[in-house]
Symmetry: C2
Amino acid sequence: MKEILINYMKRFSELSEPELEKVAADVPVATFEKGSILLRQGEVPDKCYFVLKGCVRQFSVDESGKEITSDFYTEEQSVTVFNQHTIDKASNYSLVCLEDSVMVVGDVTVEQNLYNENPFLERMVRKMVEEDMGKMKDDFAAFISSKPEDRYKDLQKERPDLVNRVPQHQLASYLGITPESLSRIKKRHHSM
Amino acid sequence: MKEILINYMKRFSELSEPELEKVAADVPVATFEKGSILLRQGEVPDKCYFVLKGCVRQFSVDESGKEITSDFYTEEQSVTVFNQHTIDKASNYSLVCLEDSVMVVGDVTVEQNLYNENPFLERMVRKMVEEDMGKMKDDFAAFISSKPEDRYKDLQKERPDLVNRVPQHQLASYLGITPESLSRIKKRHHSM
């Protein structure tokens, strides 16, 4: 399964395939059962992940007790909580596995040492984060200007697997709508 | 004005203040008149910016010809279009100065050379992008679950200067609402 990681790294690194294979061989991979909690809102994250197989949901509970799903991470996505801008470095999100998942696990407490020993890793990570940032900018800009129905269509186009892979009330939350609205939109959309 | 840059860099670098001053002294700063177009949607960006003074609007025109404002950059924010995930590397956005602006100008075509010569720069940029990414995740998560009125309140809390600094129809676009809705929300909010 590490070929997923190698293919991904290839896009961000000038290292040769054998060199990347060596990097991948040293990387710890772990299996998580459906329902595993990777991080709780309020905790200071000490791990980051890269999904080889499975699905992780990011959510938070607001002051009124309402649960808001703000992201789903699936194959070939990195799961990192960037918390350096927060005062207490605590995570604003919880992370939970929606499926049995296989993931690369990184230890963020030794991140800086790793980069000192392997500068190519820091370069790779910079490029990965910049790509994620570019995608998120686009998603955000699209979300601002779109109606719920368009958001559903966009999601079905961009991430067709997701629509049937996650609980519908969580998908509705992610789209910023009620489960009833999502149900109506799906009916309209699939009868067209 | 470069002390703004030095103070900002200090948060992301282990270099000493005199060392950072040396870096800042080498950095090109330019002045742009209000209305200056920094980048046009569809162009491949070759510059990035850091705002020392002023305001830059990011917007795009959608297929129906509608203009959507998706960000405003003000003092101590970097203005970078991350386009590595797009097929043709073209920008999805235009960038225009809303005010006379003073900005650090970076040349992204020589970025990699700069990093090769100064590895501390790459580290600093990685940390800056990660912080921006963390903030954007929070903003996006908040946007998903909030009503327009809450978005206005959040913006007034987080970036109080912005509310009166930019044209109201562009602010409305950025909040995902009509100018009429924004006007109603402001009236309600300020009469409370």
